[in-house]
């Protein structure tokens, strides 16, 4: 295996790892708030579950980046392309927006989730509002994801 491939894989792995870490932390934070609410008001389970799941998407995005890199490198169901060191670094660079933004956005989205869950506990009718405000945080994860996707697809190998 050459150096370029190694660097690119480290990038892909980091995107999946950091996205997953952020989401695991985030879903756990929101989940703690949700269990508190459900213990008092079991009928709100469905509503708070949705809010709890919100910070979980970043992990999926990280995973998506990792797979796209692997596909691009021909590591999934094909033979690996020979990759120069520079191209490897370029692939790593393409992963950087996701590596940095996904965990941070998952963490802060989780904080919003917790607050929205508290709001829903008091006003079950405002679930959609809480959901919308929480999803706003995810916008930047999506932009980072898009930047990564476009770069991964666009880098000449």
């Amino acid at each position: 295996m050459n150096e370029g491939l190694l660097i690119a894989i480290i990038g892909a792995a980091s995107a999946a790892a950091f996205g997953g870490l952020g989401s695991a932390l985030g879903v756990q934070m929101a989940g703690k708030a949700a269990t508190g609410v459900v213990s008092e008001k079991p009928e709100l389970f469905g509503k708070v579950l949705i809010l709890q799941a919100l910070p979980g998407t970043q992990g999926i995005y990280g995973f998506l980046i990792a797979i796209l890199v692997l596909v691009r490198l021909g590591l999934l169901g094909g033979s690996a392309l020979p990759l120069g060191t520079e191209a490897g670094w370029a692939m790593f660079g393409a992963c950087v927006p996701s590596i940095l933004v996904l965990p941070v956005s998952a963490f802060f989205q989780a904080k919003m989730s917790v607050n929205s869950i508290m709001m829903v506990a008091k006003q079950p009718d405002s679930t959609a509002k809480g959901m919308t405000m929480t999803v706003l945080v995810e916008t930047y994860a999506i932009l980072a994801l898009l930047a990564s996707i476009l770069m991964i697809q666009g880098i000449p190998l």
């Binding site: 949705i50 799941a53 919100l54 979980g56 998407t57 999926i60 995005y61 995973f63 998506l64 797979i67 796209l68 596909v71 999934l76 169901g77 679930t127 959609a128 509002k129 959901m131 919308t132 999803v135 706003l136 916008t139 999506i142 932009l143 994801l145 898009l146 996707i149 476009l150 697809q153």
Partner: protein, 623 residues
């Protein structure tokens, strides 16, 4: 569309009051207004509320004992429903007795178990407990000692010439009975305490421990039978739970009826309320069924009084109203956003999922759930939204050539291979979505005869959006450019038309043009369609690949079926959740802020509360 709601006043004779209210509740067409000069008449609906609460609690307790969880509604005629049925209350009391007995027996059994545990170590003690006091020259006592210290204790007793006998064990402690000569007591006991002795005092009774234990096991056997009997009884009673459900609905309906706010005068009853303008005849019909002596007058709402919002749409659009209502209900004066919103929601949901297989599963799953569970209200609407969106998912899936994550003959493109094209498609869809929002606002302005505003506030932006779009097409460069400049010009010249001063007007117009950054952000936000679509198709692809890797032999093949199943179910669930949330967000934030006011209050008529029953053969009921 939004149905106008009228305010009406009804006056009738007092003797007709109860029957009239019942009839109004049955038809469910009037939303009563709380009288302003309410003489704080105390409403006593406590009995009904308590009954509903008791029945609900019993129903929850019975849940454990029912055999199959059928969710079908109980079909009943109105007359049967409204009749007081003493049998039902008897049933409720029977269930309550039974559960009380069960609970008590369980508590007693628990207490017995504890008692048993405290006697068990002394089972081998062969004297009655009151005999422990009998010896004159020695003391006879019971004690527990930690297991590790047993040998030391035995030594102690042997050395001093006193006696002990080891009995049973309890929780790493050795139980023993010991006899000490009176003169040695203080010395030996202090020694024993150092070794960790716990003295035990059992009740002084004329029975041996073994006899007490026998008695306990007899008692607990009889308690166990009682528990078993009660449980069997509850299982039997659980078969009658439909009666409980009826009772809950009846009690809830009675509660709302009691709480209906009306004003009484000496000879008449007076009530005010909202009624849908297209259903007034049904209201009149309901009154005339009771009395001929009445007066119904339509009046203007008070200044600043909020009129409830009623929307009437076909079944497709009606389902999607639940999405809008979760955000805010439309204001009664504005254009109903639902017809336009429903189509976009449907289209974008399908794009986000974009897989024929998943679409088929959604359609079948939610059609079955609607058929089996017979949900009502918002649950039914949500299920329908997901069912309809399944169809759109199938259509997009064919265009993208995606079948459970397997790529086959894409008609339009395969987003995995050409994400850039997919991004452009997402953004074009977004621009069209936003333009349609501006058009709704333009229609509202047209209705309100604000013709200049149509051009300046809506068409100008539409020109810019279309112009920028054309600019990127090979043949549309110059048309696009001029269209965008024209739109921008309209905004700069007219957006600040409220200002008298020309400079202030241009300044304000320029500031309005700065709103283009908002439009840019809104349109870029539609890139999430690509992100969600890609993430669900990549995960589907990975699941297929994982399953494929296992299929080298027979066992692997079976395992691979599990991987397919679990993987795709997980992906479908996550995909639906994401699509539901992000599609809603696109409507609420990007679409609605172009025209939507919201802030309507729901129309909640006085009606029968039917969570479990369904009225049949009732000409008054519909839906």
């Amino acid at each position: 569309m939004i149905v106008p709601v009228h305010k009406v006043q009804i006056v009738a004779l007092k003797e007709a009051k109860d029957a009239l209210l019942k009839s109004l509740q049955r038809v469910g067409e009037i939303m009563l207004i709380t009288p302003k000069e309410n003489d704080a008449s105390y409403i006593d609906s406590l009995a009904e509320e308590q009954l509903a609460e008791r029945a609900t609690r019993s129903l929850a307790l019975l849940k454990k004992y029912q055999e199959k969880t059928g969710k079908t509604r109980i079909e009943i005629t109105y007359d049967d429903f409204i009749k007081d049925n003493p049998e039902h209350e008897a049933l409720l009391e029977q269930i309550e007795d039974c559960t009380r007995k069960l609970e008590e027996s369980r508590q007693e059994l628990l207490a017995l178990k504890e008692k048993q545990a405290s006697y068990l170590p002394w089972e081998a003690l062969d004297i009655a407990l009151d005999q422990l006091d009998a010896p004159k020259t020695a003391v006879l006592r019971l004690g527990l000692i930690p297991e590790g210290q047993v040998e030391h204790v035995i030594d102690l007793f042997n050395n001093t010439g006193n006696v002990l006998e080891l009995l049973g064990k309890s929780d790493r402690q050795q139980a023993f009975v010991y006899a000490i000569l009176k003169e040695d007591v203080s010395a030996i006991e202090s020694e024993l305490k150092n070794l960790g002795l716990t003295e035990v005092a059992l009740p002084i009774i004329a029975k041996k421990p073994v006899e007490v234990l026998e008695e306990i096991s007899r008692q607990s056997a009889s308690l166990t039978t009682t528990i078993q009997e009660s449980e069997e009884m509850l299982q039997e009673l659980a078969k009658e739970q439909s009666k409980l459900k009826l009772m809950i609905d009846k009690a809830m309906s009675d509660t709302t009826l009691k709480q209906a706010q009306v004003t009484d005068t000496q000879a008449t009853v007076f009530l005010e309320g909202w009624v849908r303008s297209d259903r007034k005849d049904r209201l009149i019909q309901a009154i005339e069924a009771i009395t001929d002596v009445y007066d119904l007058a339509e009046i203007e709402p008070d200044l600043g009084e909020q009129v409830p919002t009623v929307t009437k749409n076909n079944q497709f659009v009606d389902s999607f109203e639940t999405i809008t209502d979760m955000f805010e209900k439309p204001h009664p004066d504005e254009v109903d956003p639902n017809p336009v919103m429903s189509i976009w929601y449907w289209l974008i949901f399908g794009m986000m999922m974009g897989d024929v297989g998943y679409g088929v599963v959604m359609v079948v799953l939610f059609a079955l759930m609607i058929k089996k569970m017979r949900p009502k209200g918002n649950a039914l609407r949500l299920f329908r939204v997901l069912m309809y969106s399944g169809v759109s998912t199938i259509l997009w899936g064919i265009l993208f050539g995606s079948y459970f994550g397997v790529s086959w003959n894409p008609i339009l493109m395969s987003p995995m291979e050409k994400p850039l094209d997919m991004l452009i498609l997402s953004i074009v869809i977004g621009a069209c979505h936003i333009i349609s929002g501006l058009l709704v606002k333009a229609y509202r302005n047209f209705r309100d005869k604000q013709y200049l505003a149509i051009f300046v506030d809506q068409f100008s932006w539409i020109f810019i959006l279309i112009g920028v779009g054309l600019f990127f097409l090979p043949w549309g460069k110059s048309i696009g450019l001029w269209l965008a400049i024209g739109g921008a010009g309209l905004i700069v010249l007219f957006a600040g038309r409220k200002n008298k001063n020309v400079l202030a007007r241009i300044g304000s117009g320029l500031y309005s043009l700065y709103g283009i950054t908002g439009y840019l952000g809104d349109i870029l936000s539609y890139a999430r369609i690509l992100a969600l679509m890609l993430s669900s198709s990549v995960i589907a692809m990975v699941m297929n690949m994982l399953a494929g890797m296992l299929q080298s032999n027979a066992i692997g093949f079976i395992l691979s079926l599990f991987v397919y199943l679990i993987g795709h179910v997980f992906n479908l669930a996550m995909g639906m959740l994401s699509a539901y949330i992000h599609d809603s967000r696109l409507q609420y934030i990007e679409f609605f802020n172009k025209f939507y006011e919201g802030g309507g209050i729901p129309f909640r008529p006085l009606t029968l509360q039917t969570s479990y029953v369904e009225m049949i053969h009732d000409s008054y009921q519909e839906n």
